[in-house]
């Protein structure tokens, strides 16, 4: 936990009043505007994120959007705990979509975690620039990279809460004419026990907001936490059980029109032409709008728009990609690894020497994964309205601030003429990062052609066919086992669009290791899918680890243990999951157990999966045990939910899911041919946290990567079939 004093400084003067956390790197005018935005009469504003009203209501402005992670509640817990505020008086609002509310702690968090000049991998495509650019110039308000709690919470919310509490104490000390050291706080009050006096935060707030504090704010001793570490019910759940939660799809405005769209089936293709007559003949259809690579129909409602769109026979070109298929991509990727030099590499030791040492045993395997789709339950829906040269947008995106900028560019107006109204998101998983949200540009173009507000809704078919998929990738893994059955050297050579050499953590203690990337782009958009590149790399490495254990004639658990440092967090996690799952106990015939250990987003996670394969060739996970070390846990119930959700989403993806290409176009179109796991196939999931004092890790993503390899290893244990390609269906027999 490093709190830099400069976070509170403007020109050397320590300041809280209207003092916004982003000030150290954003312009002061923007800061003042932002303060005005969230300050109501007689309320004190503390940092970017906290406002205390006269009636003690504490409003926390979250720069993050909650799409189910529970992070908004977690952030409020962190701020309220350090502030010593009464939980029942806490309200959370979305931070205004303004530069002054950009997420400085997030940028700083990644500054500490990643190499100085790398862009966090989940931001690839948003910023094509060095990290310094991100920190200084790119207004981040992004939710991704499992970062809300560990970056914004640790470096933002706790700081803001503690600083506000310090200012309240300073103010109360003045009013009581007593030293600050005689004052304590509890339940939104500053208390002077000696004299039996107390002041409510609401009575102090307006004055405290202008108080000057010196030095760093004083943080609580973790043993005094009242909210951090407790399973506090999520603030957003009541609205999600009675239909009142408002998602981007739910926007209602006077005179609202609805549009839906079809883009060129082959990505890269253009719209050659369309005869609008068939759509215009449908009652309720108002306009057929031709865009560069797509055609949209504007109507009174969605059904009329969709019926109109389906009546059209647009002609599209294929952009020269008409020969591309999943098979041709796989073959080309494999060839590239064989013949080309890597574009990026990371690792340690002399791998070629290790593999060439006499007496070692070489093991080699070839893995492949297809494109997969995010399949967020809420298809894209974004509403836009042009009026008097200004543009308003309503919708759910993972970075409203950057989305606003994208919209301004598409509209060719200045950013301050654009207002973004963030809405809840029905899932995101990486799909709603602005670099890949073509819907932003589309809705802006459509809105230009109507005086009314227009909600552009993507059909599920559009959603499936024009995703920004987890990359299709191919990997060759090679390792040498020495005469003691220990790994002497290891290489992973993989071909896909994105470099992951700085993202992947290799957890085992081996003398030589190399991860080498062969850049291979296709016509598809691909990018972050919950857990990003740790997803496919976890599958390769942890499946291969079992292959090496087999070659060394060792139990997969014992083999892993031999390659982990005694006393390490990784070993503790592995031992815990082995113990809880009864790793060495007998199993019902036909079932097998598999394990996997992956570190991602600074969290260490191991799963054991007990599985079998049905007569229909479908693998079935019966039970999953998971052990997680993410440092401190802020909300244990929410944390368990994130790991559970990650496991189930990952199981769905590895059993059934694949986006395939034929003639350059996506074959799948909806949930009948892009099948997702349903409740009947969902296993029991048992999650356990080993809390440590290590720096906090994320939780939204790290449950995903160990899932596919643990299931592959369980299938091998149950059937003797080693599956090296996703998805698993129909590859092993019972």
């Amino acid at each position: 936990m490093g709190v830099k004093r400069r976070a509170f400084l403007i020109g050397g003067a320590a300041l809280i009043g209207g003092g916004l956390f982003a000030v150290s790197w954003s312009e002061r005018a923007a800061t003042r505007r932002a303060a005005k935005q969230i300050t109501k009469d007689k309320a004190g504003v503390f940092q970017t994120w906290i406002r205390i009203a006269e009636d003690d209501t504490v409003t926390i402005f979250s720069p993050h959007v909650d799409f189910g992670q529970g992070s908004v509640t977690g952030l409020a817990q962190m701020a309220a705990d350090e502030l010593d505020a009464e939980w029942s008086k806490i309200v959370v609002e979305s931070a205004p979509v303004m530069v002054a509310f950009a997420n400085a702690p997030l940028a700083k968090g990644f500054g500490g975690e990643l190499l100085p000049f790398s862009v966090p991998p989940f931001l690839n495509g948003i910023v094509g620039s060095a990290f310094a650019m991100v920190a200084r110039n790119i207004p981040l308000q992004v939710t991704g990279g499992s970062s809300s709690i560990r970056a914004t919470g640790q470096m933002g919310m706790r700081v803001a809460g503690a600083a506000a509490r310090n200012a309240l104490i300073t103010t109360a000390a003045k009013r009581f004419s007593v030293p600050e050291s005689e004052l304590t706080t509890a339940n939104s009050r500053v208390i002077h026990a000696k004299s039996g006096r107390a002041l409510r935060y609401g009575e102090l707030a307006a004055e405290a907001a202008d108080a000057t504090i010196s030095g760093e704010p004083k943080f609580k001793d973790p043993k005094d936490y009242r909210l951090i570490g407790r399973p506090i019910p999520r603030l957003d759940i009541p609205g999600k059980v009675n239909g009142s939660a408002q998602f981007g799809m739910d926007v209602q405005l006077p005179d609202l029109r609805v549009a839906t769209i079809m883009a060129a089936p082959v990505r890269g293709g253009k719209l050659d032409g369309v005869d609008p007559a068939a759509a215009l003949a449908i009652k309720g259809v108002e306009k057929v709008i031709e865009l560069d690579n797509s055609v949209a129909v504007l109507a009174k409602g969605y059904w009329q728009a969709l019926t109109g769109l389906r009546a059209l026979s647009p002609k599209f070109s294929d952009g020269g990609h008409g020969a591309l298929s999943s098979a041709s991509i796989a073959a080309a990727q494999a060839a590239k690894i064989q013949t080309d030099k890597p574009d990026n590499k990371s690792g340690h030791g002399d791998v070629p020497a290790a593999l060439a040492t006499s007496g070692v045993r070489l093991v080699e395997a070839h893995y492949a994964v297809p494109f997969i789709h995010h399949a967020m339950m809420e298809p894209f829906a974004l509403t836009a309205h042009f009026k008097d040269g200004k543009l308003d947008l309503w919708g759910g995106v993972q970075d409203p601030l950057h989305s606003r900028q994208v919209a301004a560019e598409a509209a060719n107006i200045s950013t301050d003429q654009v207002t973004f109204h963030p809405m809840m998101m029905g899932g995101a998983f990486g799909r709603r990062l602005p670099g890949f949200c073509e819907i932003i540009g589309q809705v802006v173009q459509i809105a230009k052609q109507t005086p009314y507000p227009v909600k552009l809704i993507w059909s599920r078919e559009e959603e499936v066919k024009h995703g920004c998929y987890r990359p299709q990738a191919t990997a060759n893994l090679k390792a040498a086992l020495d005469k003691n059955g220990r790994i002497a050297g290891w290489t992973t050579d993989y071909a896909q669009s994105e470099d992951a050499t700085r993202e992947i953590r290799f957890v085992y203690d081996v003398p030589a290791y190399a991860l080498r990337h062969y850049k291979f782009a296709t016509n598809q958009h691909d990018g972050p899918w919950r857990s990003v590149n740790s997803n496919q790399n976890g599958f390769y490495s942890e499946s291969f680890m079992d292959e090496l254990a087999l070659a060394a004639a060792e139990d997969p658990y014992q083999f892993r243990r031999k390659h982990l440092h005694p006393g390490s967090r990784h070993l503790a996690v592995l031992d815990d999951v082995a113990k809880r799952s009864g790793w060495s106990t007998p199993l019902t015939t036909g079932r097998g157990r598999g394990m996997a250990l992956v570190e991602s987003f600074n969290s260490i996670v191991a799963h054991v999966i007990e599985a079998s394969v049905g007569d229909d060739g479908r693998p079935r996970a019966h039970k999953v045990w998971s052990t997680v070390d993410c440092g401190r846990v802020v909300n244990p119930d929410g944390a368990a939910a994130q790991i559970m959700g990650g496991i189930i989403m990952a199981l769905s993806s590895c059993v059934d899911e694949a986006i395939t290409l034929e003639k350059g176009a996506v074959v799948q179109s909806n949930f009948h041919d892009y099948r997702l796991l349903k409740l009947a196939e969902a296993p029991d999931v048992d999650v356990h946290f080993l809390e440590s004092n290590a720096s906090m890790g994320g939780l939204g993503e790290p449950g995903v990567p160990p899932t596919a390899p643990a299931l592959a290893n369980a299938i091998f244990a149950a059937t003797g079939t080693r599956i090296r390609q996703l998805p698993f269906r129909n590859q092993a027999k019972a």
Partner: protein, 160 residues
């Protein structure tokens, strides 16, 4: 000329193309947005409502087919005094929703299942709860259905 339907106890006369799916009438005409659009082919269940008490995927059924019928949406299952339906309360107690987008449909499916079976067994739940949840809340949906029907011991199994 309009199509008469009763939604959450109120009568409406709908002026729409009779082929319009009930979902879009509920969302765009009646402005009840708790019922969600997910796939448009009846595969995901986000649009689930009750038609004369039967669980129905509203994205497939034309509004003309529900003329004269009683429709209940997520907005209509709480008691008239506003008290939550036991299934809604269980969804809060077990902290089921994540993104929440599919949960209206899940709750409507669970309410219908409980109405039909009284005390649903885990096998009933597996068989009837076919709505998709991408966030992966299924284990908690199971627990919440058991909790809502007083099967507390079973509901407490598992910690996720």
């Amino acid at each position: 000329m309009g199509i008469d339907v009763e939604v959450n106890g109120k009568s409406f006369s709908i002026d729409a193309d009779p082929n319009t799916p009930l979902l879009w009438v509920i969302r765009e005409e009646l402005r009840l947005t708790g019922t969600k659009f997910g796939c448009g082919i009846g595969a995901c269940g986000a649009c689930s409502v009750h038609v004369d008490g039967e669980i129905t995927r509203s994205c497939l059924i034309p509004v003309a087919a529900v003329a004269g019928k009683r429709i209940t949406t997520i907005e209509g299952i709480a008691a008239p005094n506003g008290a939550l339906h036991p299934v809604q309360q269980a969804w809060i107690d077990v902290q089921v929703p994540q993104c929440g987008y599919c949960q209206s449909g899940q709750i409507m499916a669970a309410v219908a299942l409980i109405k039909k079976t009284g005390l649903p067994t885990p096998a009933h739940i597996d068989e009837s709860m076919t709505n998709i949840c991408r966030c992966g809340t299924y284990p908690r949906i199971r627990r919440a259905i058991l909790a809502a029907t007083g099967q507390a011991a079973a509901a407490l199994q598992g910690n996720s």
